[in-house]
Symmetry: C2
Subunit: 305 residues, 2 copies
């Protein structure tokens, strides 16, 4: 056995798991395909992680990394190629080596679906956001578009409306996929729903200024000014590696966990965005800490708090 615990993914959940695991006396390896920090690396400003009033995602990632490094050297740029059940635990093959471990905390996150239209990448973090809870507060009293028509888009639109924004939902079809209760709320709250319309491109200079929209029936294009756009067309949880282990996921593809972050497979824990939910930095950190503490139960060490 090379390590007792492997933490796969070093976003907020993986960082917290690593810190808590080592502090609990667990021999641990933290594997990260890219760099420590995960999604926060691309967040220009974070204002809702308690303890940091206003910090760039890059800076918070650096702080998290240094905190983790106090306990353990994370393996950055070392993607996991496969994860298999073995007699005594799990076998992990990465781009650089093979490891035998007894337990795994899975914290590989989720990726926001993008529209893939011109200007989207350029203005990401400069007017375009993928998370209303994270970034809505920056746009108070502004005019924003919410692109999407599902439950999440509806909830995000309501969240933003509630912050006093002029909210326009842009949806490509002639009706929303969101449940009726959401649709009723949207109408009641005065969210403007723009049906049969797609985004052609995002325009601006330093930051987003306008969106070019196309009516899918008439093919007519028009440009409308917006201060912000929330792209809310879903997330893809990075569950590729655990599917073969038989880890259960919910209807949206997120890993199902209990209060201790246990999956249905003994010795496999999951934390952070990959489990869905509020998907905030602080909730991910908490889940990572809890997962690490709980993993002691399969390491023959103690029982979870």
């Amino acid at each position: 056995m090379d390590y007792e615990l492997a933490v796969i993914g070093a976003g907020p959940a993986g960082v917290a798991a690593g810190i808590y695991a080592v502090r609990a006396g667990i021999s641990t390896i933290v594997l990260e395909e890219k760099l420590v920090g995960g999604q926060i690396v691309v967040s220009p400003w974070i204002e809702n992680y308690p303890g940091y009033e206003n910090i760039s995602g890059m800076d918070l990632a650096e702080i998290f990394k240094n905190h983790l490094k106090k306990y353990i050297e994370p393996h950055e740029l070392e993607p996991v190629k496969s994860l298999t059940k073995t007699e005594e635990g799990f076998g992990i093959v990465t781009s650089k080596g093979k490891y035998e471990v007894k337990a795994v905390v899975f914290a590989t996150g989720a990726i926001y679906r993008t529209l893939g239209v011109p200007g989207e990448r350029k203005f990401s973090g400069k007017g375009i956001s993928y998370c209303a809870t994270c970034d809505g507060f920056f746009f108070r009293d502004k005019k924003v578009a919410v692109v999407g028509g599902g439950n999440t888009a509806a909830v995000e639109a309501l969240y933003l409306k509630n912050l006093g924004m002029d909210v326009h939902m842009i949806h490509r079809r002639d009706q929303l996929r969101a449940e009726m209760r959401y649709q009723e709320e949207l109408e009641k709250k005065g969210v403007n729903i723009v049906y049969d319309t797609v985004v052609c491109c995002f325009n601006g200079d330093e930051k987003l200024e306008s969106i070019e929209l196309k009516d899918v029936n008439t093919e007519e294009r028009r440009t409308e000014n917006f201060d912000g756009a929330f792209v809310s067309i879903g997330l893809i949880p990075n569950t590729g590696l655990v599917r073969d282990l038989g880890v259960e996921v919910d209807d949206n593809g997120y890993i199902k966990v209990d209060d201790f972050q246990r999956t249905n497979v003994k010795g496999v824990y999951a934390a952070g965005d990959i489990t869905g939910g509020a998907r905030q930095i602080v909730t991910s950190c908490a889940q990572g800490a809890q997962a690490a503490l709980a993993s002691t139960e399969v390491l023959g060490k103690q029982y979870p708090f």
Copy 2:
């Protein structure tokens, strides 16, 4: 209605709830009987809140307070006298006023039971701790006492043993209350259990150096050197205010909550130590954030993420 939401208690859970509530556009009042920070104020050093490698509890409390104040002025030194159900929500009477609110996040924490012996207060945070997960790492390879005989004491003793400490459980009776599986683990791991023994007093100069123990049968006293002592004789959740509302608690007196921090009473949420569990700063913060987000559901605003 004076406010939409009242957050009662401004420890980590209440602070996070306040930040998230205001950022979600909820009119909020935060009521705190003492000062913002809660239990962390008395923690000399905190090393496991992700983002702060090493900080005094006092300093982290100050940072949390300033973060909260960016959004809302907390009402410090304003204890809640009563909390009652009203037609439209809840009525709160404090030492300074009356408030009508629609929803409540209850985050009043829990108090560690103390032994009440000489030296305990003096060396609290200077060798005496009430939380192994929080402080165990400071005592690696040292000799420590765990005072108590229940499940929590057993889990804490195992946690500390696992960190390489020489662990001695001091218990006043001739057998532990902890479940048999814990007792077996304690024996297997080599935790020394000192039965029929109570702590008379804690001694030292600047920090804890020794403990005076008494054999309850022979009344014989002896002094033994210890680097640290973990007092693990339980916690008292501060649930006084919510009992009358019919909020359900578990066998240990902690408030029962679901994944969204809802209690069984509509409009009442709970977060932090009062709900039991891992009782870490980061888990409390996460619960507070989640509770605030969830409370929007009863404010006619949106549905929880």
